[in-house]
């Protein structure tokens, strides 16, 4: 995706604060894919996820003044907003009318992970390079949104181990992605 104009994070934020369309266009080109995939993990339906994506960008537009650069990078802030909106949507009545709610049960685990990941070749390629245990952990944490307690029960691991293993998984992932990109 070739950017129409080159922005640093600082100049981008200035543009966003000024409600400059160019800046939002750049923001979309640059971040829509990552944010869309965050939504898609939570709501694996193309159209609904696209609708939430639009909502996310509108929310970013409306709330850009509440972004505080001293607290973290722009993506972290957008990630939070994105996840919250996606979760709001999946909990909303409208959404639940069309899709039956699934409870968090062990046997649901396989199905849900299939739905969310199996047909995504890119993510699958990245994840397949992780050791089995860590991949499963990442699927539960990242794709299924299970809490640490639930994961601890499902995988029969102490809570502390779940936490440190999630950390080591993300560190592995970091080096993996770095390797693949270079």
């Amino acid at each position: 995706m070739p950017p129409s104009q080159n922005y640093t994070e600082t100049s981008l934020i200035q543009g966003l604060l000024a409600h400059d369309e160019q800046a939002y266009s750049y923001l979309y080109d640059h971040y829509s894919k990552a944010l869309f995939n965050i939504i898609y993990q939570i709501i694996p339906q193309q159209e609904v996820a696209e609708d939430v994506l639009q909502e996310v960008f509108i929310r970013l537009w409306q709330n850009i003044t509440s972004y505080d650069a001293s607290r973290g990078r722009l993506f972290t802030w957008m990630l939070n907003i994105t996840r919250n909106l996606a979760i709001d949507r999946i909990r909303s009545k409208d959404y639940n009318k069309q899709t039956k709610t699934t409870e968090l049960k062990e046997d649901v685990y396989e199905k849900r992970s299939e739905q969310a990941i199996i047909n995504d070749i890119g993510l699958k390629n990245t994840m397949n390079q992780l050791p089995d245990e860590n991949r499963k952990l990442l699927e539960l944490a990242y794709f299924q949104g299970y809490t640490q307690e639930e994961i601890s029960k499902l995988l029969n691991l102490p809570l502390g181990t779940v936490k440190t293993r999630i950390r080591s998984t993300l560190i592995q992932l970091r080096t993996l992605i770095g390797k693949n990109n270079s």
Partner: protein, 284 residues
Amino acid sequence: MDLSCIISSGDLELYLLGMLPEEEAYKIEQLAVLLPEVRLELDRISGTIEDFARTSERNPSAGVKANLMERLRSLNVDDHNAGAEIVSLPVNEAAEANNTSTDSAIIRPMKRYNWLQAASMIGLLLALGIVILLASQNRENKKELVSLEQRVNSINRNLVEQQRLNLAASEMLKMYENDKYIKIRLLSVPGKPKAAAQVFWDTDTKEVYIADISLPQTPSHKQYQLWAIVGGKPVDAGVMDIPKHGVQKMKVFQKADAFAITLERKGGSPTPTLEEMYVMGKPS
């Protein structure tokens, strides 16, 4: 638990994956503001999540952007309109009301001043009074809100600080309980104020740690320095960064007969100033 423990705990990852309960997430946010290292690590993890999401083959459909930009554009227009309306409305009303009242007062004789107009004037004044009252209350509320926010922030800062102290204390407790550390209590030497410090000496790695320090406050150009006495000679074990709380890793010593702390110029000295020795202790 110190900084490296906060970073290696896995909590930062959980925070960014949205898996922490609200209060804990809030704590992490506070820590990120206070500790640049935490902020840096959060940025790094957030970068990993971002890059990972990008390795997907999935994309939003091509039409989404055009539709979105259209919606943003209309929001932009709405914003401008809304701003204009809010400013113009009350001013016009007030001006009109003013006009009618001056008209009736000056051009027309007093008896033409009818009750309806009087009533509407009273109504207007009442409304104005209420608006002023509300505005002043609002100002008060805002003031209160700001001071409340400041209080919450300062409480939070204390909480974070307290937490760091707790972490440091529990780290130290763990070391006290762990048999792999040789514990050496350094006590004040004669002629010096009452003071103490604790040395932990790892029997595996031979690393020396200093903790639980209670020494007199140093002037800003001075710093405490730890020494190991090896074969009767003092060997530099490093200067101490943390005056009070936490555990600090010093140098590695294969053997040492004793440990001592002297007050030296900032950055440390090659040889100890013996008159400035405060505490000393031998492995039992």
